[in-house]
């Protein structure tokens, strides 16, 4: 072989080994979120759903633990997805909405307004759970820029190995098992819990010095409103019916006023808990912070009717391709209910390994 070609091949091989090694190390060391904290895996699952959704829910745990797209499909034929993540900040919601609209054309986007209370970046760990799962696009770039706390560096999002390198001492079997694939942890974005922990003493909110939502939060709400209007998507503002974190009347008024001023619908489900039929001794798994499966299905049932009747969301239960997709999700859903109930019966908790 010609020496020059040999040299060239060696250089190419060396580069391949370097890149391959870095890629392997990156995959090995990044958190997998396959057990324990599952929320970090949810954003990425969205890309595996090949169907186009009519309703996309965007927001924090008040959506991904309270709305069951499976229930919406099974009972109303609504094809929906929850693009939710833990402590999702409004700018992250905005960029998720922007990305969603670039990929598909939903009829409605439902945004949970609790995140209006945050006006600046909060927590790196939560940022990661929202941002790491996003595919690279300008939406992701801008979302990272808007979300970074002072201690964070953009380059660590580009090369996650630079962030997660120190996990070498925390590696476990999951890190090897899920090197090149992930299991599904959610059901079209819904995080399921079947256990019950009654809401007994929900604390009242402490008085605040200033109840006005911040300028930054409003800036992104304005952007979200404009984005939806420009693209012909109905934006529905909601406040989930969970009892804590406390939702102040002053906050509620600002949302009522904002919706009115911008021609949007705002539904505060806290006021409709009785209509929904929520029983706080049965329908929450963590004392009123989040709904369990029973609560989420009640909530979905109530909201599903509204979506069909007031927003003309189509019933797509007759579409074969959509049905085929949902069959798989429903199977997993049923299996997960069975798994959690069995564990609950046997061990007293849904995830005995935790």
């Amino acid at each position: 072989m010609n020496i020059k070609i040999k040299k060239l091949l060696s250089i190419i091989l060396a580069f391949a080994v370097v890149i391959g090694g870095l890629d392997f190390a990156g995959r090995l060391l990044e958190p997998k979120y396959m057990s324990g904290i599952l929320e970090g895996a949810m954003i990425g699952e969205y890309y595996d759903d090949p169907t186009s959704h009519d309703v996309v829910f965007i927001g924090d745990c008040e959506l991904y633990e309270n709305i069951s797209p499976v229930y919406l499909y099974e009972n109303y034929g609504i094809n929906s997805y929850v693009r939710g993540s833990a402590q999702q900040l409004i700018w992250q919601s905005y960029y998720l909405a922007e990305e969603t609209i670039k990929r598909e054309k939903p009829k409605a986007i439902v945004f949970n307004v609790l995140s209006m209370k945050y006006d600046e970046p909060q927590n790196e760990a939560y940022n990661r759970m929202t941002l790491d799962g996003m595919k690279w696009s300008m939406s992701k770039v801008n979302s990272i820029k808007a979300s970074m706390t002072e201690e964070e560096n953009f380059i660590e999002y580009v090369f996650p190995l630079l962030r997660y390198h120190s996990r070498w001492s925390d590696l476990n079997s999951d890190d090897f098992k899920y090197l090149y694939h992930r299991d599904k942890v959610a059901f079209n974005g819904y995080y399921m819990r079947v256990d019950v922990k009654a809401a007994e003493s929900v604390p009242e909110g402490k008085p605040l010095a200033d109840y006005a939502f911040g300028d930054n939060a409003y800036k992104y709400l304005d952007k979200l409103t404009k984005l939806c209007k420009d693209n012909g998507v109905r934006l529905i503002l909601v406040k989930a019916p969970t009892q804590y974190p406390y939702w102040y009347p002053e906050w509620d008024k600002q949302m009522v006023d904002y919706a009115k001023a911008n021609g949007l619908d705002y539904i505060n489900f806290l006021d409709k808990a009785d209509e929904i039929g929520l029983d706080w001794s049965q329908d929450t798994y963590d004392g009123g912070l989040h709904l369990n499966l029973s609560g989420a299905e009640k909530m979905s049932d109530y909201f599903g009717k509204i979506l069909l009747e007031d927003y003309d969301i189509p019933d797509r239960s007759g579409e074969e391709e959509v049905a085929r997709y949902w069959d798989g999700v429903i199977d997993r859903y049923e299996a997960e209910i069975a798994r959690q109930e069995t564990n609950l019966e046997k061990y007293g908790k849904v995830n005995p390994e935790e």
Binding site: A14, G21, E152
Partner: protein
């Protein structure tokens, strides 16, 4: 901009690419620009100080050099017409004129250093004196800017001025070239303290990209990052914990803290210098070595010939020798010999000069009594060592251990222990506490302190200690190989595959096991503060 920050790596990459894209003649002006940008990013106010030092030293040295040149010409023409005494007088007159300029520039720049760095230290001492006389009202402290690396660039500039004054070489004729010599960014913040005669040889030259030079530079940078990130910044955590709580961490912990600090300081400082030298090397510029495996030294004197070499030689050449050879010292020597006899008397000027050198070395490191006492501690140890020389010779005439491996190991361990003990002054907040903690090593030592959990409670895990230990073994192995020549040259002599495996492994180890990013405190290089 920390050397270990992403910003610095980005800056470096940009400088490197532009440097080699530029025509040769534009390379050094570009480096000057890059150096000033680097300094500007740290704090725009710093530029005033470094520019002032550069301009005053440049013109001072230039005037001295021009005067020397014109005097030499005049003297050569008129030498024959003059009597011996006239020649002597002319030289003295000339020397006096040069000396005035020299002293003016020297005092101005050392004055800037003294005011910026030592004003508050002086005020604190005055206040202590005032309060000792029962007056509670003290002087207020002043909020002064301390320019980054001022000790380094001032000493480097003054070394140049002294050399020009002593006629070692003519002054640089280009202000901007001189400004680059003073501000060359890789060595601006923590040295080495380069000599003009050394650095100027490659600093202003045109350089074309050369694979070997660039790869050697990158390898050196990588090695520096390994030492800094994998070892120094990891072991820094327990060092800080031990120092922060002397009440709990006494006895064996204080000893462990001193040893950890010895390792941390070595990896931090030599790692930083490796990065400096490596960065310069990638651009074809040769920066003086600052360390030669100092922890292999068999005595303190040897240690100081191998640790922070450029600082040691600076103090020797520009303080020790001039003081020793000064007229004042000649008089001291004469008087001490007359008073104390030849044997003891001849030592007095040497020790007095050494005392001054170590005092200034101490205070150069920092405006605190800890550093002064540390410097004087070195002086005392070296003096005792010299005084014990006859005893050592007697001992070796009786006990035949010299040259044996065991004896060498004993000497090395002894040196490391002495230097680590002295360095405790770097760590603790004041001198009395340092003495107390040193004493506690012997007085408060308890077997129960040999407890792994206690060390884990200091903030790093057992796995982290393992990483440090493995890192130490790698350091030791590399140092052993270094004794017979350049490790990089040896690796370069290997086949391509083993070369690749070695450097790729080092790269991956540094990336994965480096103590950087969130969860680790970004730590400044220790010598940046000097």
């Amino acid at each position: 901009m920390l050397f270990t920050s992403y910003e610095f790596l980005g800056f470096l990459l940009a400088v490197f690419v532009i440097y080699y894209l530029l025509p040769g003649k534009a390379q050094w002006p570009f480096l000057l620009l890059a150096s000033y940008v680097f300094y500007f990013i740290a704090d725009p106010r710093y530029l005033i100080f470094i520019a002032l030092t550069s301009v005053t030293t440049f013109y001072g040295a230039k005037i001295i050099s021009d005067k020397k040149e014109s005097f030499a010409g005049w003297f050569a023409d008129h030498k024959k017409e003059m009597e011996k005494e006239e020649r002597k007088a002319a030289k003295a007159k000339e020397h006096k004129g040069e000396k005035k300029i020299f002293l003016a520039i020297l005092l101005l720049n050392l004055g800037i250093l003294a005011v910026t760095k030592y004003t508050n230290f002086t005020i604190a001492n005055i206040n202590s004196l005032i309060s000792a006389f029962g007056n509670a009202e003290g002087l207020s402290f002043v909020n002064l800017v301390i320019p980054m690396g001022i000790s380094f660039y001032t000493f480097q500039s003054m070394g140049y001025l002294i050399d020009v004054y002593n006629g070692k070489f003519p002054a640089q004729k280009n202000l901007f070239k001189f400004a680059l010599f003073v501000s060359f960014f890789p060595q601006l913040v923590q040295g080495p303290i380069s000599r003009y005669a050394d650095l100027s040889q490659t600093l202003f030259e045109e350089h074309r990209a050369n694979f070997k030079t660039i790869s050697f530079g990158l390898e050196r940078i990588l090695w520096g990052f390994f030492k800094k990130l994998v070892i120094a910044d990891r072991i820094l955590v327990p060092v800080k914990a031990i120092i922060a709580d002397p009440g709990s961490y006494n006895g064996f912990y204080a000893f462990a803290g001193a040893m950890f600090y010895a390792l941390e300081l070595y990896c931090d400082f030599t790692g930083g210098i490796d990065i400096t030298i490596g960065v310069a090397e990638t651009m074809g510029i040769k920066v003086t070595e600052n360390f030669i495996r100092p922890y292999f030294s068999k005595n303190i004197k040897e240690y100081w010939n191998r640790w922070h070499i450029t600082m040691g030689t600076w103090f020797t050449d520009y303080i020790f020798y001039p003081i020793s050879a000064s007229q004042f010292m000649m008089k001291v020597s004469k008087k001490s010999r007359a008073l104390l006899g030849n044997n003891i008397g001849k030592r007095v000027p040497v020790y007095l000069s050494s005392f001054i050198v170590w005092f200034t070395t101490g205070i150069w490191h920092g405006a605190s009594w800890n550093f002064i006492v540390w410097g004087l501690g070195n002086f005392v140890v070296i003096m005792i060592s010299q005084e014990l020389d006859p005893f050592y010779r007697w001992f070796h005439s009786k006990v035949n251990v010299a040259g044996t491996t065991g004896w060498k190991a004993f000497q090395i361990i002894r040196t490391v222990l002495i230097m680590s003990s002295l360095r405790m002054f770097d760590c603790y907040r004041d001198v009395p506490l340092t003495f107390k903690m040193f004493a506690s090593i012997f007085a408060d030592f308890r077997l129960s302190q040999l407890n792994l959990q206690a060390f884990i409670d200091m903030g790093i895990t057992a796995q982290d200690y393992l990483v440090v230990f493995v890192g130490l073994i790698i350091l030791f192995a590399v140092s052993m190989i270094q004794r017979s020549g350049s490790v990089r040259e040896k690796i370069y002599g290997l086949a391509a595959l083993p070369q690749f495996v070695i450097y790729y492994s080092l790269f991956m180890i540094t990336i994965i096991f480096g103590a950087y990013g969130i969860g680790f405190e970004a730590s400044q290089f220790i010598y940046n503060q000097f």
